[in-house]
């Protein structure tokens, strides 16, 4: 069996006396599509923030592609090949959709002052074809700030996917999106990520979305991993039904 792409060992985060995450040990194989579920305050976002370097773990270790990335900052984890999207879309509101993609390209590759122009016809082509893959090319010249929330989230995900990162974390990609648009939203977001060979972790509250798009589920509860494994098995787990899904019939 090959080595995992990504692995956390005994990850822990405390804020004063509050334990936000405790003993989180997860192995992620390359190409997996994993849903992270859990009620509010279960530690899902804390986990994502630790993995991407926004928070430094109080204890434990994060390994990515065999390297220890514990304690790196967001810029360094991004350069290492881990990108994320946000629960509330983080885009550059005054710029057009195409410009947002161009900034994503430049930020990943070219942060130096030089005589060479950063916005080249090649980069515009790359940005346009990326927008195409995410179904956003018709709004390429629209300012991102004027887009509806759902479209903004798609742009956010498209920006996270720029440069073909190896691991992409999506923080609640379908929150704030109307119920009948959720599946379409996931279809347009997941397919191009899959095609690029990215390993995907996404936080999700809608179990229909989880069943349809994940091949593994990790359930968080009070900062710890309650269950981890096959979708059908985890979602039928008695404790998961009781504490995470909140199914009164369990």
């Amino acid at each position: 069996m090959s080595a995992p792409l990504f692995r956390t060992i005994g990850l822990e985060k405390t804020f004063g006396g509050v334990v936000a995450a405790k003993d989180i040990s997860i192995d992620v194989m390359s190409g997996e599509r994993i849903a992270i579920i859990g009620s509010n305050g279960a530690g899902k976002t804390t986990f994502v923030n630790m993995v991407t370097g926004y928070l430094t773990p109080s204890a434990g270790q994060i390994l990515f592609d065999g390297h220890d990335i514990t304690g790196l900052d967001p810029r360094q984890t991004a350069q290492a090949g881990i990108r994320r999207s946000f629960q509330i879309a983080q885009v550059f509101a005054e710029m057009t959709v195409l410009e947002n993609m161009l900034i994503a390209l430049i930020a990943g590759q070219d942060g130096r002052p030089s005589a060479r122009a950063a916005i080249t016809p090649e980069r515009i082509d790359i940005a346009r074809s990326a927008l195409d893959r995410f179904g956003l090319s018709v709004i390429a010249d629209t300012p991102a700030g004027t887009l509806p929330q759902g479209t903004r989230k798609q742009l956010d995900i498209a920006m996270a996917a720029v440069g073909d990162p190896r691991l992409v974390l999506l923080d609640e990609p379908t929150s704030g999106v109307s119920a009948d648009e959720k599946m379409a939203m996931m279809d347009t977001a997941i397919a191009p990520l899959d095609a690029s060979g990215a390993t995907i972790l996404f936080i999700e509250h809608d179990m229909d979305v989880v069943r349809r798009y994940a091949d593994r589920v990790i359930a968080f509860y009070e900062g710890t991993v309650l269950a981890d494994g096959n979708v059908a098995v985890v979602l039928e787990d008695e404790k998961v039904r009781k504490y995470v899904i909140g199914d009164s019939h369990a």
């Binding site: 967001p74 991004a78 057009t96 590759q109 720029v162």
Partner: protein, 313 residues
Amino acid sequence: MMPTLDFRRDHLFVAVLALLVIVGFFLPSWMRFLIQTAMASGLVALGVMLQMRAGLVSFGQGLFFCIGGYAVGLLAAKAGITDVALLLPAAALAALVIGLVLGLLLSRYREIFYAMLTLAVSMILYGLLVKAASLGSTDGFNIPAVSYFGFVPDQAARPDWSYALTGVVVLAGCLGALAYLRSGAGAMLDAVRENEIRLSYLGTSPRVLVFVVYAVAAVLSGLGGGLWAISSGHVDPEMTYWTTSGQFVFVALLAGRGSVVAPVMAYFLLELLRTYALDIAPNAWQLILGSAMLAVIVLLPRGLWSLVARART
């Protein structure tokens, strides 16, 4: 396409500015001197404008204007080095070194803290210069006539030479700023202003970008100060006083962030307005200036350059 990142036509605007500089050669000498000092100061306003693209207001850009001016002044008047081939690089270098050191500290701060810290540092220099009796204290000191790559123009031709030097260096400064804005570090300044967190998660350090823009602005301002010193033949601590810095901010706001030539042209408009306002209303010229500023802010929030930008689309 691309209202914020599109500088493809700026070479054209620099060419227009070059043409205006040449036209200036044939204008009356008082007007030409106005253009000359406006261009030198415009380079400093350009430095302020670059920082504004990153959402940062430097309320102490006079610091580097003064450092550039005093570098030229000290070398020419005290060390006997009077050739522009050494004076201007020295002005730029002095500003760069101080800019790099202060940049390490300032790149950690944003918003009002950045504005106040830049102001504080510039006033520290003011305080030091005022105390320095050997440098003429508040009066400053005069600078001897300079030579141009070994050539010493006679008295009558001096204004022509210093005008030409200012024109060439300011145009080069505009082209340099343009190359910077088109490079990766410059193109991302708007992204720093809008959403730093997002930018870090895309793989870039906003702090490094702020550090770089501060240093670039320092060099431009140092050059502006050096040119101003050569043009006026005099330096004094007023160059780093807060009202001087305020004027650079005023001009950067007046101009807008749309083009590298906008601050230079806006500085000239300001000087022109001030001259005529003084002429028309010697006791109330500030009232006219203030009203003009108010009108621009209310009617053209993106600065005078938005008129040009609007005409393009």
